[in-house]
């Protein structure tokens, strides 16, 4: 049983992690690299003249200072494949999704021990629940962080993130396999509790990355994760069903 669970998780995790990393390279990485230039100060969000920020967009037609906003040679910073950095991203993406896959397979096995059948379609629903638990619901309190954004203490955020993920998993189980109104009530409570408690936020906003870039980054990262988890759930469910049909 151990071998089969792990094999299914690694197989589904490999495929999902690979799809995620390809999407990431195409749609997320360019934004990340651009944001890092703002984080490092190579690019700056507002034109600065003599240390003062210029917010007057009406004067954009006049001569710009030398260090003004993105120009063509800055718009696409080093987009070439960096073997070490991007190679590690490929490895870790697969590694993380294989880890998610193992959590998912352990969940399937638990569900089956309670008499619930797992099919690829149910697997897809599990995948979407995983996406909600590990990405969507935590991002309701802690937005996906682009480099160069202000944030609260790392430990506090990690604790809140972890608590939200666990609470959402519990809620997803109660919604998926609940049998009476109390289960659903508990699910709503588990879903809401971390957000009523509130995520740790920075006292002030001082991130140098433009909000346009940050919000596009967050949206793309979320959709990428949703696709990844959908593939993961579908494949893991498929693997599970085939394995049990034998």
């Amino acid at each position: 049983m151990l071998k089969k669970l792990v094999a299914g998780a690694v197989f589904a995790g490999f495929a999902a992690g690979l799809i995620v990393v390809l999407l990431q390279f195409a749609f997320v990485r360019p934004l990340l690299l651009e944001a890092e230039q703002y984080e490092a100060g190579t690019l700056s969000h507002f034109a600065r003249v003599g240390g003062e920020e210029v917010h007057d967009h009406g004067s954009e037609n006049t001569a710009k200072p030398a260090n003004d906003h993105v120009t063509n040679d800055h718009a696409h910073p080093s987009q070439g494949f960096e073997l070490r950095r991007d190679g590690l991203t490929v490895l870790f993406s697969i590694f993380v999704y294989a880890g998610f896959g193992m959590i998912l397979m352990a969940g399937f096995a638990t569900a089956e021990s309670f008499g619930h059948r797992i099919t690829p379609r149910i697997g897809l629903l599990w995948g979407l629940a995983g996406f909600a638990a590990f990405h969507l619901m935590p991002s309701f309190g802690l937005p996906i962080e682009v480099p160069g954004s202000a944030a609260a203490d790392l430990n506090d955020r990690q604790i809140w993130w972890f608590g939200t993920a666990v609470a959402t998993v519990v809620a997803a189980w109660l919604i998926g396999y609940g049998t009476n109104p109390m289960h659903y009530g508990l699910a709503v409570l588990a879903l809401a509790a971390p957000h009523i408690l509130g995520a740790p936020h920075p006292g002030e906003y001082y991130g140098p990355t433009p909000p346009e870039l940050a919000s596009l980054y967050a949206s793309r990262a979320l959709v990428t994760a949703m696709i990844g988890w959908s593939v993961l759930g579908l494949l893991a469910g498929n693997f599970w069903e085939k394995d049990h049909a034998e």
Partner: protein, 56 residues
């Protein structure tokens, strides 16, 4: 009685296996997403940012 014992034994094995697989997965996700050592942070940096794990 023999059958009952076997079933109980099987169920115990299953629970242990499920727990083991879950822990392996959780450890992998934790290592890649949460471990604060400089090496892990640097190596998994882009994945952390893209997955929405708290970073920095």
């Amino acid at each position: 009685m023999n059958t009952t014992a076997k079933t109980a034994n099987l169920a115990q094995t299953n629970i242990a296996t499920i727990a083991l697989v879950f822990l392996m997965g959780a450890t992998m996700v934790f290592a890649a997403g949460f471990a604060q050592s400089a090496t892990m942070h640097e190596s998994a940096h882009d994945v952390r940012h893209a997955a929405g794990f708290p970073c920095h």
